[in-house]
């Protein structure tokens, strides 16, 4: 290409390019320098630069991927947390409901037992009272009987003479015979 450019420059007659102020020699030298620059850049700079850019791009892509994964993990975690919170809330509601129910049952049971106990106390008190009354009546009856017996003994001792006593014995013997 350099050869073609030199030949083209040497064979040309002064004309259009000279009229435009183009210096072929300078143009060729600048072209060669440009090509050398392009070659040097392609050989030493571009690979490193492209590699750096690729690494940077890969790093960014990896970071984005990780960010995306982290976002997904975060979303999953948030969803899990929400689910756990919902479950915990449901469990708490259930426990609370069960506690209310059990408390109501316990209160009802305690009321029933207290009522039964109170009734039993009343029954026992009445029974005890009845026993005491019966005992008092029996004691009064026994005392009355003793008084009657003592009075009867006293009266009989005074009224039972020998004739009546003999009659009493004969009646007893007659009764034994039968």
């Amino acid at each position: 290409m350099l050869h073609t450019a030199v030949m083209f420059a040497s064979s040309s007659e002064p004309g259009l390019f000279e009229a435009l102020g183009v210096n072929w020699k300078l143009l060729v030298e600048q072209g060669i320098a440009f090509l050398i620059l392009v070659w040097a850049l392609a050989k030493f700079v571009y690979p490193t630069l492209i590699k750096s850019i690729d690494d940077r791009r890969n790093a960014i892509e990896a970071g984005l991927k990780e960010a995306k994964q982290s976002q997904e993990a975060l979303e999953k975690a948030e969803a899990k947390v929400a689910e756990l919170l919902e479950q915990a809330r449901a469990d708490a509601d259930e426990v609370l409901a069960r506690s209310h129910k059990e408390a109501a049952v316990m209160v009802a049971d305690a009321e029933t037992k207290a009522k039964a106990r109170a009734e039993q106390i009343v029954v026992d008190a009445r029974s005890q009272l009845a026993v005491e009354v019966s005992k008092a009546r029996q004691e009064l009856k026994n005392e009355t009987i003793k008084l009657v017996a003592a009075a009867t003994e006293h009266v009989i001792g005074e009224k039972l003479d020998e004739r009546k006593d003999a009659s009493l014995i004969k009646a007893g013997l007659e009764k034994e015979r039968k």
């Binding site: 009987i145 009546k164 006593d165 003999a166 009493l168 034994e176």
Partner: protein, 134 residues
């Protein structure tokens, strides 16, 4: 009488002696009392007399009866009681020992070796009281 014999054997021997020779009854009773004292059986005297009475009834048909009454027994009551006891026990003879116990209030209590006939007013009152109390 150095060896100790049972109360029932002793009662049977005494009864045999009393039946065989009633005139020496006092002697045999004293001998029995001495035996009881000698062998430390004084507290069995009542039981021995009861056994002797039972043996006399078994051997001789003689019924020993103790009668306690509120007043001394009249002849008619005594005779009627003996008649009744003979008919009730098939005894040939009825011998009464009597005592007066005013606490009986009236009537009598006849005690034989086999039982007791209580016709006292006290007993009737006790019975009345127990029936009324129950």
């Amino acid at each position: 009488m150095n060896s100790k014999v049972s109360r029932r054997v002793l009662a049977r021997v005494i009864a045999e002696k009393l039946v065989a020779d009633p005139a020496k009854s006092s002697h045999w009773i004293k001998a029995a009392a001495a035996y009881l004292l000698q062998h430390g059986m004084a507290e069995d005297a009542d039981l021995l007399m009861n056994d002797v009475a039972r043996e006399l009834f078994a051997q001789d048909g003689r019924l020993m009866v103790h009668v306690a009454s509120a007043r001394p027994l009249s002849e008619s009551i005594r005779a009627e009681l003996q008649t009744y006891l003979k008919s009730a026990t098939d005894a040939k003879h009825v011998e009464l020992s009597e005592s007066v116990d005013p606490e009986l209030l009236g009537g009598l209590v006849a005690t034989t070796p086999e039982g007791e006939l209580d016709l006292s007013v006290k007993k009737r009152l006790q019975k009345l009281a127990s029936i009324t109390a129950s």
